[in-house]
Every structure is written in C-alpha cells, then in structure tokens.
C-alpha cells in the first residue's frame, strides 16, 4: 500500500484505542482526555465519526468537568477520573471534597474541541468557572501555567488559553497584551520561537506561538515575519524536522506545516516529499503512524500525520482549521467562535 492512505486500518486503530489501551499507557493516565481527542478527531478527519457512540463519549467528557460550589470558583476539565471522583456526567456541583482535584488547561482545550467535533453545543459547559481558572493561570510575564497546583509555564499553555478563549468566544479572562509581549520575547535570533526567552527555536512551540497570535488577531506582532516563514520552509528536509539539524518527525508536518498554512504559505511546502515521508511512517499492519520509520505507531503521531497529509494536499483527509487543529466543519457547525473584540 505504498503512498496510499490505508483508511480502514487507521479507523480500526483509533477504534481499538478508544476501546482499550495497553498497560504501558499508564504513564498517560493524567492526560487520557488528550488521547481521546487524538482518536476522535482522527476519526472525524477520516469522515468516520458516525461509527462512535457520540452520546456516551460526550457524557464521559462532561463527567470530567469541575463545578465549583462558589460562583467565583475555578472549574475546567480533568484529564481523567484519577483523583477518585464518582462518575456523574450531569453533576452541577462538587458534592464530595477532593482537595487536590483541579482543572488542567490542556484538558479544557481538548474537551472543548471534542465536544464540538461530537456535535455538542456546550450545553453543560460551566463557562464562568473555566474563565475564572484561565485568569488565575496567567503568570505575571504573560505566559500560562496548566494547573494551579504548582507547575511549569510555557508557550504550550499560552496556546491553550488562546484556543479556549476563542472557542468560548470570550477573551475577558486573559491579559492579551501581556500574552503578546511574552510571545514576542520568545522569538529566537533565527526567526523561530522557543519555549521561553533565549530557548532554541522549536516547531511545536512555534506553532503554539503563531496560532495564539492568529487566534487573537495579532500576527502583526511578529518581529520579521519573513525570517519566520523561511525558518519554517527550511525545516522541510523530506518530512519536517522540529529543530535545525535534527531528524524529520511526522508530528512536525502539522506543527510547522500548520504555521505555514496559517500564514497562507501552505503552497510553499513540497507536498510530494511531505506525503512520501508520512507514508513511510504509515503502519499498514496495525494502522496508525509513527514518528519516524522503524518506530511503532502512537496516537499523537497518528493524528498529526493525518493532519500532515491534508497539508500535503491529500484529499482523503477532511479540511482542517489550522487555528484549532480540528476539522473545519467542527468549527463551523459548533458554537460561535471569535477573536477578541477591539
């Protein structure tokens, strides 16, 4: 099956992941919702979302939402029920005390994406509680932590904060100017973006930076956009490498390819080389895609490989909204999104 999308194998791959993950996936327990997102969004991009029991997944997602007793309290979504909460998709208030239970910014992002993809109109979303959490997660330097309980802060969570505000159509919880200053300060001398000021330019981080600027309507903030565009284009060595002088890895097809798409420069990508690289990483026996040839497939690289194929002009994958990394139809058919009002 050279250079052809093995669609059925991939559908089976994601379906079986949704049904059960092996023991070594224990290290992913805390971000299980992210795994669910990779699987469901992949099936959506393969136009096969209807094989799923959408209602039960929607209920599972809502069971992970935190509902503070206090209307000014913080909410959000958990990555999984690992803290011990009883399952209840219709909970509206936390009835039992779980002191270290907390929402995680990346889980809110994937939850909002998932609900949209599955056709839910956010009817059970506690928007105020999510925004209260976002507000508290922003740091004095403009970046964001993922949780209140002590954690690193970096560009990944800046992106989550932007995407959440966009999907909820409400930017009131974050200080946009501080966020923009932080993003600016992370641009490296070579044009790409690093995790923190002074850090090496990196594909995943560059996507998070650029998409945050795009979502908030501030692409003008980039110092020397031309340097950034060239940095992105030059990362294509067959597939895309994530940093200068490193090997190509399928996930950067989305992280860096997506940056170019957001800048209307997707046509500058060498589609045939990109597609060829991704297909070398296709696992025909199990379905899914790996990061590089010779590695086993995993959900993250499978998802971003599918996105990469769309970027490489493969029309067997549905059109993608590059701001959010999900299908265009999930964005268009779902609750209203918006950039900040000037």
């Amino acid at each position: 099956m050279k250079n052809q999308l093995n669609k059925n194998a991939h559908i089976n791959y994601f379906k079986s992941c949704l049904e059960c993950l092996p023991t070594f996936a224990q290290s992913q327990e805390n971000n299980r919702l992210t795994m669910i997102y990779f699987c469901v969004s992949s099936l959506d991009l393969l136009d096969s979302i209807n094989i799923l029991d959408k209602e039960s997944i929607i209920n599972y997602i809502y069971s992970l939402q935190i509902h503070p007793k206090d209307p000014n309290g913080v909410g959000g979504f958990r990555g999984s029920p690992f803290i011990g909460i009883p399952f209840n998709p219709f909970r509206t208030c936390e009835d039992i005390e779980f002191p270290y239970d907390q929402g995680h910014i990346a889980m809110i992002y994937v939850a909002l994406c998932l609900l949209r993809i599955l056709g839910n109109n956010y009817d059970r979303i506690n928007k105020r509680a999510i925004l209260n959490l976002l507000h508290k997660l922003q740091q004095p330097n403009g970046s964001f932590c993922p949780v209140l309980g002590g954690s690193e802060s970096d560009m990944r969570f800046v992106y989550c904060a932007s995407a959440i505000s966009y999907m909820l159509s409400d930017w009131s919880a974050i200080d946009i100017n501080k966020m923009l200053n932080y993003i600016k300060s992370c641009q490296s001398y070579d044009g790409g973006f690093g995790q923190a000021p002074g850090c090496e330019s990196h594909g995943g981080i560059s996507y998070c930076a650029l998409a945050s600027l795009s979502l908030s309507g501030h692409l003008d903030v980039i110092n020397n956009l031309q340097d950034f565009i060239r940095w992105c284009c030059e990362r294509q060595i067959s597939g895309f490498q994530g940093r200068i002088n490193k090997d190509a890895d399928t996930c950067y097809s989305f992280w860096i390819g997506g940056c170019l798409e957001l800048l209307n420069c997707g046509h500058l990508i060498n589609s045939s080389e990109l597609e060829a690289f991704i297909f070398i990483c296709q696992s025909n026996s199990t379905g899914g895609f790996s990061k590089q040839p010779g590695f086993p497939p995993d959900m993250l690289h499978s998802y971003y490989s599918l996105c990469g194929l769309r970027i490489a002009q493969n029309i067997e994958v549905l059109p993608i909204d590059f701001n959010l990394g999900i299908s265009k139809r999930a964005v268009e058919n779902g609750p209203q999104v918006s950039k900040p009002q000037i």
């Binding site: 399952f87 270290y100 309980g149 002590g150 001398y189 070579d190």
Partner: protein, 314 residues
Amino acid sequence: MEEYISFKDREEWKDITPISQDDGPQPICPINYSTKFSETMGYFRAILVKQEMSTRALDLTEEVIDLNPANYTVWYFRRLLLKSVKFTINDEFKFCEQLALEEPKNYQIWYHRRAIVELSQDCSRELDFTTKAIQNDNKNYHAWAHRQWVIETFNLWEKELDFLESLLTFDIRNNSAWNHRFFILSRNKAITNEIRSLEIEYTINKIKLCASNVSAWNYLKGLMNGSNIDNYPTVIEFCDWMVQNHPICAPANVFKVDILQQKILQLKGKGQIEQLRELVNEAERICNNLATNLAVKHAKYWYYRIDQFQKQLQ
C-alpha cells in the same frame, strides 16, 4: 530491586481504605492497569483525601512517581510534603537527578528540579547535573532550558563558552549549542561592536570547517540582526568569497540573498532605479539557482522570494 509487597499486606497501611477509580459504565480509552498500579493509586487517592502530611505519604509519592512520573498531582503533593515533613535536601536532589536521567523528556521532573533549587536556593549541583543530561543527549531541550534558567537566575555565566566549545568540537552542527552561545552572548549584557566583531571571526572560522552547517550561518545572521551590514565589510567579503569558491553551498547563497535584500531596502525611495534593478536581478538569479539546483526541495519558497523581489521593483 526490592520485591513488591501488596499494600494490603503492609502493616503500616492497615488503617487506610483505598479509594478506587470510577470510570463510569462506558469508559473511553480505558487503560489496562497493572494490579500494582491500581493498588498504589488507590492508596494515593485515599491519602490525598485525608491530606495526610507524613513520612509514609512521602514514601508513597515515590511509589506513585515510579509508576507514573507524569502525574503532576503527585509531584505537587510531594512538594507540599517537603515543606512539612523531615527530609534531606541532598537526597531529594539525587532522587530528582536519577529520574531526570532515566526520563529525560518528562516535564514534571524538570519542573520539580527547578522547584527544589528555588526552595533551597542552592544551585551548586546544577551545571554538573545538566552537563550529565546533555552528555546523554546533546540536544535535550529540558536540560538546556534548565541550564539557561540556572545561569540567568544565579549569574553563572563564566564557564559556558568552554563547555560549548567541547560540544561543538564533538558536533559542530549542534543547534542547541549554537543557540546557547547566542544566549550567553546576548542575555548577560548588550552585544557591543567589539564583541560582535570577535563573534563574527569565531563563526566564520567555524563555517570554514563545515560550510553547509545551517546553525553557524543562522548564528552569523543573528549577530547581524538590528545592525547595518555595511559596518561589517568582513561579513560581506566572506559571503562573497564563499559564493565564489563554494558555489554549491546553499547557505552561503541564502546569506547572499539576505545581504542583497538589506541593500535593496537601503536604496528604496532614493530614486537610483538602475542600481536597484541590478541588485534585484542579482538576487533573483541566486534565488533561481537555489530553486533549480542548490535547494530544490525548497523550490517553491525560492520562487516566492523572486516574486517578492519583483514587487520591490514596483
């Protein structure tokens, strides 16, 4: 390796009723947990609800971390325990180091390391520690980021250039090392003209050793950011020399295009149409060569650059 004893057989845990996880009637992406994992987590959940600050709780966090070092809640709880329970800071540093070297890409471990450095205000181990991690993986992003944080927070700028030299001798293409050099250069104090000149000389010598090394060319470009290239004739001369004597060196030609772009910008609006046209033609010629011969994979990008140069003539 100690043999695992089930919690229900441990005398010191008899008073605790474990709390099981409730995944609901139709769990999504359920994980096939090992018995050890389910049991340990069950006791951990119970201790969290109790908010128990004790030595046994501290030991328990170690067991949970061993099973799942990405669990950010257990790390947070451990840090709270370190504030209320007796422990030896050196042991904590050793524990963290061992884990970081085993799981070098784990964000939580590296954050914990930073947290205990902040807590103890003791940075004495950090350069050696990050050196070890970087020796294991010369491009470990967390190790470099942590090293930069330590240097900036505790003013440890001195020995870095020697450290970098050994890394670049081993692999002149190590972009993390080049980035770190730029960090050392630019974050401590402003780049003076004298420093810039010395760095230009350094970089040119490195490029001569490996002409195709994009990291070194980017570094050279970075040095020129925000300054007028006419003040650095050595750079222009070197680039021209490279393009003449190493015509298939793509980065040299790319750099030449950048120089021409700068010169074109300087000439804009000054009415010297002929001179402008000459520069644009030269730039287009090089872009065309890149697109068709030297950087064929990026052909579309170089045709885009030609378009952009054309627009500058209008």
